[in-house]
């Protein structure tokens, strides 16, 4: 697709979206605004409400409360539920949802037929799209004659061929093996952006989310708890939950021993670790209320293994595993601190001693909750805080 043919993506507005299944609350007042052409990934564990939100956007499920607008047109709201076929969107399903009685070509032709694209043009567009996803030779194959990866490529072609403004992706890589995931991730990233469409993609895989997204929204218990760029989420998580869900290798209760100091990217503070009493400098994404304790979260990239006696504190090698370019270590330090997935090109022997150096950029100090394990998430992002990091101290905690 050439630059001139690019279609403008649709904007997406979700206000106070709620969904109940009987007594179970799947969505609890989600607010979200997505700019046209954005690749948004909704990240969350099982049961966080991401699939429900996506199905509500598609019109497959009906919202209990709240509104959804696509490109300025309300599609769901009080007394309103536009059926999926009138929402001008497309979707890639987790189980592909290819119609088994249609060939790959006919599956891809389907959206074009609904758009009343003339026969010859529709065919050439469908064939071109199948060629774009690498299936130009398999157009006449039926789904059961294709491998899982090929089937998902057909599903991708079907979603993109209609050049709609909004494309939804429901964990499209979850049924594929590692190699195929990487290939298809690249295809989705490239083709979705080329199409110019706004994309909403759900996954529970943090690395998949970070590698695809312009923006990532983290969902928990039916609430959107943070929305930002991958870098914002990684460097300035809004809560312990977000920090944990986006990848840490260690965490511990700590004592703040200095006043916050400004840096080019924000603020840092010195904290004392339990056990060893070592003092390390860590990033302070936001102020810690005086009444709350502090907790340190360590990203894997912040840990450097040194010779014994060097670094901030010592640790014993608990386990070591070969990881291609080097080794991943599990280390235990004083104060019941367990560091996992610590990468080092050098192999350190089991039960041997090493030194640990922590860099401030990957060490995050966040408020501890009542039980000392990290502050609970707030009640979700309110309207007007849809694209920036939220200061949870401004939001009353339950």
């Amino acid at each position: 697709m050439t630059e001139s043919k690019r279609r403008q993506g649709a904007s997406l507005d979700i206000e106070a979206a709620s969904k109940h299944f009987g007594a179970k609350m799947a969505l609890a007042g989600v607010h979200l605004h997505v700019e046209p052409g954005t690749f948004l990934v909704l990240l969350g564990p099982s049961g966080s409400g991401k699939t429900t939100l996506l199905r509500c956007l598609a019109g497959i499920e009906r919202l209990t409360d709240g509104t959804v607008s696509i490109d300025g047109q309300a599609v769901a709201g009080p007394g309103l539920h536009l059926p999926p076929d009138r929402r001008k969107l497309a979707m890639v399903f987790q189980d592909y949802a290819l119609w088994p009685h249609m060939t790959a070509l006919k599956n891809v032709l389907f959206p074009l037929r609904q758009l009343k694209v003339p026969g010859h043009e529709a065919r050439s567009r469908a064939v071109a799209m199948l060629e774009r996803v690498g299936l130009g030779q398999l157009t006449e194959r039926y789904p059961n004659e294709l491998s899982g990866g090929e089937q998902q490529r057909v599903a991708l072609a079907r979603a993109l061929v209609g050049e709609v403004g909004l494309v939804l992706f429901d964990e499209p890589l979850s049924n594929l093996d590692a190699d195929m995931r990487e290939q298809l991730r690249l295809a989705i990233s490239t083709l979705a952006r080329e199409s110019g469409a706004t994309s909403v993609y759900i996954t529970h895989d943090q690395s998949e989310a970070f590698s695809l997204a312009d923006k990532v929204g983290v969902l928990r218990d039916g609430r959107l708890v943070q929305l930002g760029t991958p870098e914002e989420l990684y460097l300035k998580p809004a809560s312990a939950f977000v920090a944990r869900f986006t990848g840490i290798c260690a965490e511990s209760a700590v004592q703040v021993v200095s006043e916050p100091r400004p840096t080019a990217d924000g603020q840092v503070v010195d904290v004392r670790l339990p056990g060893s009493g070592a003092v390390v400098t860590a990033t302070l994404p936001r102020p810690i209320p005086a009444s709350a304790g502090a907790r340190l979260f360590v990203r894997p990239s912040a840990v450097r293994v040194t010779a014994p006696g060097e670094g901030h504190f010592g640790a014993e090698v608990h386990d070591v595993a070969f990881a291609g370019r080097g080794y991943e270590h599990a280390l235990s330090a004083e104060g019941d601190i367990l560091l996992t997935r610590v990468f080092c090109e050098q192999r350190w022997a089991r039960r041997g001693n090493v030194g640990i150096h922590l860099s401030p950029e990957g060490c995050l100090v966040l408020p501890a909750g009542p039980d000392g394990t990290g502050a609970p998430d707030g009640p979700g992002l309110p309207a007007g805080h849809t694209s920036d990091l939220v200061d949870l101290t401004a939001v009353p905690t339950p």
Partner: protein
């Protein structure tokens, strides 16, 4: 954020989702569907069953509650009929477990020849009505019958056949497919790993068998439940062979009670209770044994069992035994019927001039009056065939459409309470003997209240079709439920998301996926309805005999040649319809529709 204006035209649009089940639910669909089924089955049969103990409720006596009908049912020949049905059912169960189970094992686990043919013949056997099987054998074995004419001494077999042994023999043959079809899938799913595990942990052949056989318990219990219920409720043999052998059976006793003057509805009702309760015993046994235990043996890693490689001589001996079985089951009655249709006055000494096409000419021309009272209204002798074709086609079409709706409701991911109750009701309806249903219809639609509601349906063709529907709908709905449940909801959702409206999505993304199921449900219903006997016998309007009734009347009045010619023509008519429908599907259905169910490519 600015508020988004909502177009007025959109506000009026009622909410719709991609799910048809959802559509049905919102429109009160389940209520309508279950109400239709309730009207077809529950109301007439319920009223009829209540009558046995509460005759005054229906103006049939003076007592509000009485056991007098029960006392009558447990006396003399009425009780003998029930007793005979019970022991015959037990015997048939035992035989079919061995025969059907044995054949299933041989096909699944040995290299016997014809492993594709035998299951197909089992399906063929399933379609043969019991009365046709009984009568086919009758023509073979009669004094001066087909075997006699061929010079085969068969008098000993005649004496054996016309009695309990013949009844058990015919019912064992016709019910064997139920045993086979219940046990074969269980054996296919029982991979070799369980046997291998027993063997590697020191189990000998016998110990391995002791470990593995209990895993087939659900299939064995299902076989017992189905075969027992089918045998108890059979009317085809009890009204032909058993009746002629002076061997009373329960279903024929019910028929006699209704057919007597005055009709003994009370006795028929109590006998129906007995029939239903006795069919419920094996079902309860099955539920009790399997409750709280898991017999799940299928998983993604199940490997096919290795086949026992028989030596050439053993292989051919086994193949011959199976071939002989099907020759007796299908070949012999077919031969009896075909030969019988060409011989005038079968049962008397045959001269060369007795062999003719006379019977076929009579059936097609209808010029000769047979002289039997029930024949008088018939315009031609072929008209029963035409009538049954019409009735069966209507029944099959309505059953396919309604059955699909019911199957969708049953297969819903979150079935409502009404659906769960409806499912239980359907299961009960499947076990309901046709004779009980027919009796219920006669009774209920003869009540003055039916007339008051404008339901003057007694002795009309619509009532006959309703009766057929009441028997076919529960069975077909349950049969369709499996394939329908396999159609993932996302396929319909995908069509809606990619721009198809509700009807268009249904037509383009759902109907093709269930098209084969619909075609086979239609064909199965058609064939079963075409030859259906008990409901036809009880509900046909005067002068409009279905083919099954006509055949029985001709044969019962010793017009063997015309009766057998009609059997041959009827069977051919069913084959023609099956051929035409399958051929039309093959020619007219898009290639993709026929592709459904093709083998999956392994990655």
């Amino acid at each position: 954020m600015t508020s988004v204006p909502v177009p007025a035209v959109v506000r009026r649009t009622p909410g719709r989702t991609a799910s048809l089940a959802g559509l049905l639910r919102r429109s009160g669909g389940p209520t309508v569907v279950w109400a239709v089924l309730g009207f077809l089955v529950l109301v007439p049969v319920g009223a009829f069953l209540l009558l046995g103990f509460m005759p005054r409720l229906f103006g049939q006596g003076t007592a509000w509650f009485t056991f007098s009908n029960l006392t009558q049912a447990f006396s003399g020949s009425v009780f003998r009929g029930l007793f005979n049905s019970l022991w015959v059912s037990v015997a048939v169960c035992a035989i079919d477990l061995v025969v059907g189970g044995g054949l299933a094992w041989v096909v699944a686990r040995t290299n016997v020849a014809g492993r594709r043919l035998w299951p197909a013949l089992m399906w063929g056997l399933l379609l043969v009505p019991t009365y046709l099987m009984a009568e086919g054998w009758q023509f073979l074995l009669e004094p001066h019958g087909v075997l006699y004419q061929m010079g085969v001494p068969s008098l000993w077999a005649y004496h054996l056949f016309f009695g309990p042994a013949g009844v058990v023999y015919v019912l064992s043959l016709t019910n064997a497919p139920f045993a086979y079809l219940a046990i074969a899938p269980a054996l296919a799913g029982l991979g070799s790993q369980f046997e291998e595990a027993a063997r590697v942990h020191g189990g000998g052949r016998l110990a391995t068998l002791r470990v593995v056989v209990p895993m087939l318990a659900p299939a064995v219990l299902a076989t017992i439940a189905i075969v027992f219920a089918e045998t108890m409720s059979d009317f085809g043999v009890s009204s032909t062979l058993a009746f002629q052998s002076n061997f009373p059976m329960a279903t024929y006793r019910i028929y006699q009670a209704i057919d007597s003057m005055p009709a003994q509805f009370g006795v028929a009702s109590v006998l129906s209770w007995m029939l239903l309760l006795s069919a419920a015993v094996p079902l309860a046994l099955q539920a009790r044994v399997t409750r709280g235990r898991s017999y799940a043996i299928l998983n993604g890693r199940t490997r096919s069992a290795t086949r026992l490689r028989l030596r050439a001589r053993a292989r051919w001996a086994l193949t011959s035994v199976i071939g002989l079985y099907f020759l007796l089951a299908l070949g012999a009655p077919t031969l009896g019927a075909i030969v019988g249709s060409f011989v005038r006055n079968l049962g008397s000494p045959v001269a060369p001039q007795s062999i003719s096409l006379y019977a076929y000419r009579e059936v097609f021309s209808g010029s000769q009056q047979i002289g039997h009272a029930t024949m008088e209204g018939a315009t031609t002798l072929l008209s029963p065939v035409m009538l049954s074709t019409e009735m069966a086609a209507i029944t099959a079409t309505v059953t396919a459409v309604l059955g699909l709706a019911v199957a969708r409701l049953l297969a819903a991911r979150r079935p409502g309470r009404l659906t769960r109750v409806g499912d239980l009701f359907l299961l009960g309806s499947i076990a309901l003997p046709g004779i009980v249903l027919g009796a219920g219809y006669i009774f209920a639609f003869n009540l003055p209240i039916a007339s008051r509601f404008g339901l003057d349906l007694y002795e009309t063709l619509p009532l006959l079709v309703m009766g057929y529907l009441a028997t076919s709908l529960p069975t077909q709905s349950r049969l369709m439920m499996g394939p329908v449940a396999q159609v993932h909801g996302s396929l319909l959702e995908a069509a809606r998301v990619h721009g198809a409206r509700a009807l268009s999505a249904w037509r383009s993304a759902y109907v093709p996926l269930v098209s084969k199921v619909l075609v086979f449900a239609w064909l199965l219903t058609f064939a079963k309805t075409f030859f259906e006997l008990p409901i036809s016998q009880l509900l046909y309007p005067p002068g409009e005999e279905p083919v099954s009734v006509a055949i029985n009347n001709y044969l019962g009045n010793y017009h063997y040649d015309i009766g057998t010619a009609m059997i041959v023509i009827a069977v051919l008519a069913v084959f023609v319809v099956i051929g035409v429908v399958l051929g039309a599907f093959r020619l007219l259905a898009p290639k993709g529709w026929q592709h459904i169910g093709g083998a999956r490519r392994s990655d």
